[in-house]
């Protein structure tokens, strides 16, 4: 686990960003399409750890747990790697059982209720 020193604050790992370009839910599956060890060796610890662990297809939540990173940091790191094609986000599992947009609308509505 790249548990960084406690004085390394999470905002510095993402440059303060909390939003992602891609839609990433906790159960969104990601994987490394072709693993490149030289590329991995040049990454910062969190990106590297995530890149290594995503050789096996995993959900965002799983990666967060196995890499020991908060969900917020994990989402941004996944998003950044995906933007360079180093990581693939699997969209195909949506629309099969649930339409995630419908689920989200339901969730948002319920949040307003709750």
């Amino acid at each position: 686990m790249p548990t960084q020193y406690w004085k390394v604050r999470p905002y510095v790992l993402t440059g303060g960003r909390t939003r992602t370009r891609q839609h990433l839910l906790v159960h969104t599956l990601v994987s490394v399409p072709y693993y490149d060890a030289v590329f991995a060796s040049g990454l910062l610890p969190e990106s590297r750890s995530l890149y290594e662990h995503a050789r096996k297809t995993r959900s965002v939540a799983e990666l967060s747990a196995v890499c020991g990173m908060s969900l917020g940091v994990t989402r941004v790191v996944v998003d950044d790697l995906a933007a360079t094609d180093r990581l693939q986000i699997h969209r195909d599992n949506y629309g099969s059982a649930f339409d995630y947009r419908l689920l989200e609308r339901l969730r948002d509505g319920l949040r307003q209720l709750a």
Binding site: M1, P2, T3, Q4, Y5, W6, K7, V8, R9, P10, Y11, V12, L13, T14, G15, G16, R17, T18, R19, T20, R21, Q22, V26, S31, V32, P33, Y34, Y35, D36, A37, V38, F39, A40, S41, G42, L43, L44, P45, S47, R48, S49, E52, H53, R55, K56, T57, A65, C67, G68, M69, S70, L71, G72, D79, D80, A83, T84, D85, Q88, H90
Partner: protein
């Protein structure tokens, strides 16, 4: 959840060590203590250090307590807007902690860092960045895979914090500041902080370097506000035998360097801080067949991972801590700090001219989707800024130094 609760426990330990030492416990100290002090300004100035220390300790105690709760709420937060606010709270608290620690340093007190540990140089750079206002402008360049021993780590972080703070304040708000770490021939590590400012006035440069070297400068008009950070650096440099200096680069900008002696450095134990090298062997190496088209690549890379040359690569890409491409300013004050926005970050994280041979250049940089919608930077995302060239020139002296490993104290 495991790692975060572990981190939280560490926070609690810190908080426990920092519980306000001035708290009079009812059981042991009812109101029968010493006679009251007079209003201090009427008295000898020698009261000030004691007063300052009290305030520093009280503020530190609160800052540490806050940190523990912050970490817990940050871990769970899923809403980006709320998480951003929590980050800004964290950022403000980190700066408060820094200021209170610096006050302790100026008082000549050793800052009692709870739970000290060996810290990798990459984390030294990022911990230092965490405590400055304009952190999104910091980029981490080449950093050797070494650590700073536990009794010196926090002091080195404090030194680097003030140098990064100085560099970001005295350079254009749209420019980056690059921090890097190279091994020198005698086994020390040279930390470099390079800004794109106009450079320091030569007369002043000599005076500042004299102070940083521990030589008392000529008695001049003192402005504690302007260079308080460098005064802190000077204290800590003397205490830890660090050599700190500022130089103007001929190509423009200022470079601050810290020479960390080999006695303060150590190997990084992979399991402690470097996840992949340690944990990867326990991962199933059999490739998962989804998506099946990538199977061959995964096989190849597994073989590459087995090669020690690759896993122990001492080179680290030039990677941005990233400019903030979203709306709004981190910390509320970094008015013009983000320039390149997302495209620059993406580009730099795979920057070809700083990466070892064999790195795949990503194919789709221009197509990388914008997010946040309003990056609006000033610099062209396709041209390298001038200071990058200067940086490349500046590092060439250290780049060829052999990696001198294993300088345990």
């Amino acid at each position: 959840m495991g790692p975060s609760s572990r981190r939280r426990a560490t926070w609690r330990q810190r908080a426990a060590r920092w519980l306000d030492p001035t708290v009079a416990q009812w059981a042991v100290a009812p109101q029968e203590t010493a006679p009251p002090p007079p209003p201090p300004e009427d008295r000898a100035d020698s009261l000030w250090p004691a007063i300052c220390e009290q305030f520093a300790l009280r503020i530190l105690a609160s800052a540490y307590q806050m940190g523990s709760h912050l970490e817990a709420v940050e871990t769970d937060e899923q809403d980006p807007e709320r998480l951003e606010r929590l980050y800004r709270i964290d950022h403000a608290n980190t700066r408060i902690r820094r200021h209170a620690e610096n006050l302790q340093v100026l008082l000549g007190r050793r800052v009692e860092d709870a739970n000290p540990q060996t810290v990798t140089l990459v984390d030294v750079a990022r911990a230092a960045s965490s405590a400055i206002e304009y952190y999104p402008r910091i980029r981490v360049g080449h950093v050797v895979d070494l650590g700073v021993v536990e009794f010196a780590a926090d002091d080195v972080i404090r030194v680097l914090t003030e140098l990064l703070d100085n560099a970001t304040r005295f350079s254009p708000p749209s420019s980056s500041v690059i921090v890097s770490a190279y091994v020198t021939e005698d086994g020390s590590v040279l930390l470099r902080v390079e800004d794109a400012g106009v450079g320091v006035n030569p007369d002043q440069l000599a005076a500042l370097n004299a102070m940083l070297a521990g030589n008392a400068p000529a008695p001049v008009a003192v402005d504690p506000a302007a260079h308080l950070g460098l005064v802190v650096v000077s204290h800590l440099a003397r205490a830890n035998h660090l050599r700190v200096s500022l130089t103007n680069r001929p190509s423009g900008g200022t470079t601050a360097t810290v020479l960390v002696p080999g006695s303060l450095l150590c190997e990084v134990v992979p399991g402690a801080q470097r996840g992949p090298a340690m944990t990867f062997p326990t991962e199933p190496t059999a490739p998962v067949s989804r998506p099946p088209t990538w199977n061959g690549n995964q096989q190849r890379s597994a073989q590459m991972m087995a090669s020690p040359d690759n896993t122990k690569s001492p080179t680290r890409h030039l990677t941005a801590l990233s400019a903030l491409p979203t709306d709004g300013n981190p910390g509320g004050q970094a008015r013009q700090s983000s320039t390149g926005g997302l495209p620059r970050r993406v580009r730099e994280s795979v920057r070809p001219d700083a990466s070892p041979a064999g790195t795949h250049r990503p194919q789709r940089l221009a197509a990388a989707p914008q997010h946040g919608g309003s990056t609006g930077g000033g610099s062209s995302p396709d041209a390298w800024p001038d200071e990058t060239a200067a940086f490349a020139a500046g590092v060439s002296d250290a780049q060829s130094a052999p990696l001198n490993e294993g300088h345990l104290p």
